[in-house]
Structures are given as structure tokens and as C-alpha cells.
Symmetry: C2
Subunit: 364 residues, 2 copies
């Protein structure tokens, strides 16, 4: 059960909206086409707006709002509640036919109809890195809770398996081994006998994959206990038993603020061969300022203080489609003292439905 | 310039909607949060609906419709026109913050906000095979015309290059070599010295790739002249010069109905080693009936009449996420006389953003 919102839009000669009688013709035409589907359609309300005209038609529980913009655009929004077993009068095929007929009768080339947007039951819509909308084939919520730090959801996708969603952003799915392998540069970096620190990494995937490479010791610093509990229960295909065990001969997970522990490591002069930044993504923002960027800079600075001179800082960047955000991150890298050099690697991450950029940073 | 539609929804205890005073509280709360962004918000209209309550708030050119469903759902739709240079008061970040605050104040866990839906200027939204909505990073329309057969658009995507869109469905993009290679089973099938017939294939990609394999002769039967003209102009990275030349030593393109030509070939007893079905996708329908399925059956029957006994019929199927549609196609294959056997191949097609299934059919 969910509400469906069906969105149509038509680009039209602006004069046909500005002129009262031509616009009335368009309303009549749209209404008569809608009446082929909704036979009992009633005129419910209308108003002139500062930039056009607005009308509401309704039939029983179906509410249709039609907006005419003086710039030459008509938007039609049809919304109604659909019970689970209920068949919609307006499925995507019916909608496409309606769009087609309306486009022809309104004599416009540019008509568009979107697949029905389903609202209210399952989280299905997540943004790409450049904020495009992507609908996932989610059929179940497995876990949903707000921790002290974030909203945690684990959902099931028919094609991607279980997916971890943090604050409404997709994080990692069962099918995303390529994400972890690109982050850790499997086959390129050699972890055998190495000392490694993971900042974040609460889904456990990175730790699980690193342990297969026989490192000397891995310490993982994750702040959110609840993320680990949820992933341990529902994401075992990517994290194995590392979140269940929390500690083994050559690894331990510490629940706490990674910044505090890095400071402690600096005091102790404890050094690592690799530090992984598996925390928040690089934000999309106009300028590299604000709390998140301060955090990113601070993470970088502290990481290099706990790295051996030939150590590496490995992290995920952002989508290839966000070159500005990536450039801002690289600008931050260039400001680091002592100076660093970096390489990048790219991989198409299945559950992101886009290509992602990863960074490998070391002292210059 | 386009209209933006921003959609929020909140799942709430149904009793808080059924009760007039609790619902009034919710309206007040939502309004006061919206007023932090739209300071001059006015109450414009309200009505009781058969399944709840509906209210319109507005500020200047911003129209906000809020619908309360008795089943326990609140949907908020915010729509306004945005000129090209204009900054929206409600970008995705602001929206996310608003959703977050509202979810907390309404004391609901399930709140959702979708990235703003942009309407009216560029075609950006195309459905996956299972009718999920996917927004593409389209920044330009290169070609747009209706032919006798279909609506043809060629658009530019920032990450996928030029894309051919037929009747609002994505067909092929610059980056989709894997599509053509999986369709033709490059590296598995041997085309050297072979006779080949392509049914459809108007984008030219299949013909272009086949010619690299030194076939004896390829005849391509495409009905839509305009598709070929458009692709010849804008899709050269996938079709080379084959649509420009139309004819060479070992190939020709015939503009016409492939069914007519197949009948002619049957009369002439002209036989091929390979026939490619590069026409409409297998439809998504409840049952394998109707005009399109008749067409699919007829194509299959005629194809095997122009194939040599050891010849192969190669075609694209549908998305992996549509098992019912694929099964229906396979059922049709099983009904063919003389009987056939088939294999399948899968590939993730970049511009489809999903995995696609391809068929290789031969006499049993």
C-alpha cells in the first residue's frame, strides 16, 4: 500500500497559456482526455497564480492538479492511494498512452510522463552523487532505526541484495565487492604482515576483505555500535563474522570516535602501513568550507601523523559525475604539510549505479 | 528553465490523521516548518477528501499541496517554476534538512524526500525494464522529431555520451559497445565469410561491428529512414559511416518493412547464416497476447525460414529484472515448429543501468 503520484508535463507555445480562451480550450481538452480514464471527474477548484493558472479536478479519491505556467509549460500531477491488492486505473502503459494522446491533441512535441512515484511504504528512491533520482527495486525493509549518529536502514533489493542505507544515502550492497576491492586496491597493494588502521568502516566489508590478505594487525575505529549490529545481522555476505567476533588474533574493532583514538596513537607514536578513510563521502558543496570539510582536513592531517613514512592513506572520493567535488578534495590534498602525492582509481559500483573515484595518498 | 516538483512523504499513526484536532496540529507544525523557508506562506484552499484531507499553501509562485491520507500517510508536493539562472530556495540539501526536521517533529521514522523533479525542458527520466524511474544526466537535446513510426530523440548525457531515445525509451548510447558485442556474441560466433540479415538495427551499431568481422554479405532491413539519418548525424561513434554509405562491397541497407523482405527472401529461397532480431524489445505484459506478441512470433517463424539449417537467430531480450517477460518469450520459442534450442547471455548495459538478457536460438 502506498500513494501513487503520476507526473506529466507538456511544453507548449506560451501564447496559448497567456490567452484566456486558448488556455480554457487546453483545460477542456485535457479534461476530456482524462475523463476517458476517470469517467466521473469533477471540477473542484481553480485559481489564477502569479505565473499562470491552477486547477484541481477530482474523482472519488483521485486528485488531479493541473498547473499552467506562463513560460509555456503545463504540469499535471495525479495522486491517489492504492491498497496492496488494488489495480490502478493509471498504470505506466495507460499513462504513456495518455501522454501520447495529449501531446498530439495539444500539438506539442515535448511531452513527458514519469513512471508512477510510489510514496509511503518502502524507501525506493535514492540520489546519485550528482543528485539525480534513481528508483531501486526494493521489496523489503529489514532494519530501520535511528542511532545517536544517523538513521540506519537495511533494505532488500531484488537485483542488488541487501543494502545499507545511512541517512537516506545508499552505502553498500551485497553485490558491491568491487567497491571494497577498489578502495583497498586488491592485487596492487600488498597487505601481508602490514599494520592497518580503518577509520569508520562500520559495515565490516573492508575489514573482512583485508583479513583475507594476512595483515599483521588491523584496528578498526567505528563510532556507531548500531550500524555494526545491523550489518552483523543482515550483511554477512559482505562482512562475514568480523562484526560478530569484534576481535581476533590479528584484528580488533574499537567502538569510539576515530579522532580521539588517532590522537592517542599519535601520543603513543603508534604507526601504521595503511590508514583507510572509510567515513562520510566527500560532500557536494560550493566551496570547501564548513564543518564537514574541516572534518575531512582534520582526518587527513591526523592520518599522516599515524602513518609510517612510506605508508598510504586510502579512501573513497565521490562519483565521477561530480568533478567539482573531487577537485575540491584534491585541492585539500595539495594543501597538506608535509606535501603528499596521490593516484586515483575508478570503478562502477553496482548499487550506486555510477562510477566512483577512489584515492591513494602518500607522502611526496 | 523548468518547473521543479519536490516530493516529501511521511508515514504516521493513522489516528493522528483521522482525529480533526490532531490533524490540525500536524498541519500547523508542517506549516510552521515550511515558513522557515517560505516566510510569506499563505493558506490558500482546503477540502475534505473521501480518504482524508487536502490543503494548499502558497507563497508568490510557490504552490504547496499537502494531502493527509486516513491510512496514515502525509504527502507534500512543492512546485514552482525556476528560471535558468535562478537559485531555488529549496535545493536538495535544504529539502533533506526540512524532511529531517519534519520527521522529528511529527515523531515519525519513515520520512522520505526525493531529489527535485525537473519538468519541462530536457527529457531526463527514463524507465528501467521493470518500470523504475531513473534520472539521466542529460544536458542537451541534439535531435527531436516524430517519424511515421515513432518519436525519435537523440540527447547528450554527461557520462554516457549521445543517447538514442525511441518513444521515450532509451535504446543505445555511445558507451554501449557491450550491448552490440553481447548481441552478436563477439569472440564466440565466427562471422568470417558468413551471410547475415539484420532485422531493424537502425542505429547502425550492429552492422558497423559485424563488418569488422569480414562477413561475406550483410543485408539490413530498417523501416525508419529518419532514425538512420539522425544516428548518422549524431551517433557516429557507434555506427561509423555505414548509415552514410548505405551500401558497400559486402553490405546494403534496405529501407523497408523487414517482414515484406523476409517473405521475398523465402520466395527466392535466399538463406542466411545469421538473422539478427534488432527490433522492439520483448514487451512487459500479463500474457503473451496482442499485436506485439503476434509480431514477435511472426518474426521468429519467418526468420527460421530464411536461416540455413545450422543458422542462428540472435536477439536481445529484456532486463534481468523482468523474469516473467523473459519466460513468456522462452515459452514462444518452445512453441516454434520445427523445434529450436536456445542459449542466453547477459551483460550490464551502461545506458540501461541494468543487466540485459540476450538470446541465441538455433534449430534443435
Amino acid at each position: 500500500m502506498s500513494a501513487n503520484t503520476v507526473l506529466f508535463d507538456f511544453t507548449i507555445d506560451p501564447s496559448r497559456i497567456g490567452d484566456d480562451s486558448l488556455r480554457a480550450d487546453a483545460v477542456k481538452l485535457i479534461r476530456s482526455e482524462l475523463e476517458r480514464i476517470f469517467s466521473d471527474l469533477k471540477f473542484t477548484y481553480d485559481m489564477h497564480t502569479v505565473d499562470g493558472y491552477f486547477v484541481i479536478l477530482s474523482e472519488n479519491k483521485i486528485l488531479i492538479t493541473i498547473r499552467f505556467y506562463n513560460q509555456g509549460l503545463i504540469t499535471i500531477n495525479i495522486e491517489y492511494y492504492l491498497e496492496d491488492a488494488e489495480e490502478s486505473k493509471l498504470n505506466f502503459d495507460t499513462s504513456k498512452r495518455l501522454e501520447n494522446t495529449l501531446a498530439k491533441k495539444l500539438k506539442v512535441l515535448n511531452g513527458q510522463i514519469l513512471p508512477p512515484i510510489k510514496r509511503g511504504n518502502l524507501p525506493r528512491y535514492f540520489p546519485s552523487s550528482d543528485e539525480r533520482i534513481i528508483e531501486y527495486d526494493i521489496d523489503k525493509i529489514l532494519f530501520e532505526e535511528r542511532s545517536e549518529y544517523q538513521k540506519i536502514q537495511i533494505v532488500h533489493s531484488k537485483t542488488l541484495g541487501n543494502m545499507l542505507i545511512l541517512d537516506e544515502l545508499q552505502n553498500i550492497a551485497d553485490v558491491d565487492l568491487i567497491y571494497t576491492e577498489t578502495l583497498m586496491q586488491r592485487g596492487i597493494e600488498n597487505y601481508k604482515g602490514k599494520e592497518i588502521c580503518i577509520l569508520g568502516g562500520g559495515d565490516g566489508a573492508l575489514l573482512y576483505e583485508l583479513l583475507k590478505e594476512e595483515p599483521k594487525y588491523v584496528v578498526m575505529l567505528e563510532i556507531d555500535e548500531l550500524v555494526m549490529q545491523a550489518c552483523n545481522k543482515y550483511m554477512n555476505s559482505i562482512c562475514g563474522d568480523v562484526l560478530e567476533k569484534r576481535k581476533g588474533d590479528n584484528y580488533e574493532i574499537i567502538v569510539g570516535d576515530c579522532m580521539d583514538y588517532m590522537k592517542r596513537f599519535i601520543q603513543q607514536e603508534r604507526k601504521f602501513d595503511y590508514v583507510f578513510g572509510d567515513l562520510t563521502d566527500i560532500p557536494i558543496s560550493e566551496t570547501p568550507t564548513g564543518e564537514i570539510w574541516d572534518f575531512i582536513r582534520s582526518i587527513l592531517e591526523h592520518s599522516f601523523k599515524i602513518l609510517k613514512p612510506d605508508g598510504k592513506f586510502l579512501t573513497h572520493g565521490n562519483g565521477s559525475s561530480c568533478p567539482e567535488s573531487l577537485r575540491m578534495y584534491e585541492d585539500q590534498l595539495k594543501l597538506l604539510k608535509p606535501p603528499v602525492k596521490f593516484t586515483t582509481a575508478k570503478a562502477f559500483v553496482p548499487s550506486f549505479m555510477e562510477e566512483w573515484v577512489f584515492y591513494q595518498v602518500s607522502l611526496a
